[in-house]
Symmetry: C2
Subunit: 220 residues, 2 copies
């Protein structure tokens, strides 16, 4: 038993550093991901990380690419609409697993191999389904904007589950119903209703776009 408390994988490399960073961000949040804590998690001094990555930015780029690798590649064996629908739902699930990812995307500009592979597959599937280059670009832009934007907003809305959150929201609504009557009405009569599922909201907008794309592909 020469092992200290932190399990040291056979040999450290870039991928293992990135995976440890993903785990740390999932557990403690991205704001507490530091090179020093990452070192501790790997049973290593923080400065040793620089043997495997050039800087923290490379870790962050790797994390984003790892997240893209988790997205289900759309199958070309089903209708394009079902495939794009499943892809959207898969992205939303992945973003729910890694809530820090959506915020990280904003600051990173160097797409990794998994990211490029994913987009290449999606474009290829749309082209095979008969989309023109222009329409494929429009479709990808519209769908991804919607999916990422929804994930971004979902992160900001405090979850309605849990009685305390519910009570807090009710109180807030009560206080502001004079100043913001329409917002108060929408909150009380819609968002706070038992059985309200934010996922329905996601699928409503998603189907709006998918139906619109179908119409654009087959102009009347």
């Amino acid at each position: 038993m020469t092992e200290p408390r932190a399990r040291r994988r056979a040999r450290l490399n870039r991928d293992k550093v990135v995976q440890a960073a993903v785990d740390l961000a999932d557990t403690d949040g991205i704001e507490s991901l530091s090179m020093r804590k990452l070192g501790v998690a790997l049973g290593i001094e923080a400065m040793s990380l620089y043997s495997h990555v050039a800087n923290k930015g490379e870790v962050l780029d790797g994390m984003i690419d790892a997240v893209f690798g988790e997205i289900d590649a759309p199958s070309s064996r089903i209708k394009w609409k079902s495939a794009m629908r499943r892809r959207a739902i898969s992205i939303r699930q992945v973003m729910a697993r890694h809530p820090w990812a959506i915020g990280l995307m904003e600051s990173r500009t160097a797409p990794g191999p998994a990211t490029l592979r994913h987009h290449d597959t999606v474009i290829g599937m749309l082209r095979a389904a008969g989309f023109s280059i222009e329409l494929a670009a429009h479709a990808l832009s519209a769908l991804d904007s919607y999916i990422y934007g929804f994930a971004l907003q979902e992160r900001n809305v405090p979850s309605v589950t849990g009685e305390t959150a519910r009570l807090a929201k009710l109180l807030l609504t009560q206080l502001s119903s004079d100043e913001y009557p329409h917002l108060a009405e929408l909150t009380v009569k819609h968002v706070l209703q038992t059985g309200y599922d934010h996922g329905n909201e996601f699928e409503f907008g998603l189907d709006l776009i998918l139906d619109g794309l179908e119409r654009a592909r087959h102009p009347d």
Copy 2:
């Protein structure tokens, strides 16, 4: 002339601190916005800021609310569809002026008065146009997801303007056209075409959603 180099406004207060933070983020980027630099910009010691704000988070919340205050309130004197279209374009313009805002939204959860006022006005306009509560919620969720997601993606794509960026992109495409053929094709034959305007991409998706909402309001 008792004034030192930094203009000191008559008396400092929360709003002036927030406005200085917005200016600093616009100029130098959000990543270099620190309490110390904010102090320098205001001709004050960093620690004096805590007389006006509780912490940096309050500054960030204020910045987001200031950005919402810049969005054109939708007029109730025109058709809902035109009003929502203009609102979307206004948000995109405001986000272009303050590119840091979209990334900040992700981490802030306390909406300020301008934010609440804006959303209340929009919901009120949709309700007046005959939208049910449910459909108004769906409409706002779909549109805002799309708008913010588009802004998020727009920030990640290096601008195609400028010959150097153009050449760099061409080279990149050349290198990866074997591995990512569809991505390469879309980039070369669409994105890099002269006259390509990313704004058209925005309006395509926007009109897709607006048309879909119109159909949802008047089911066939």
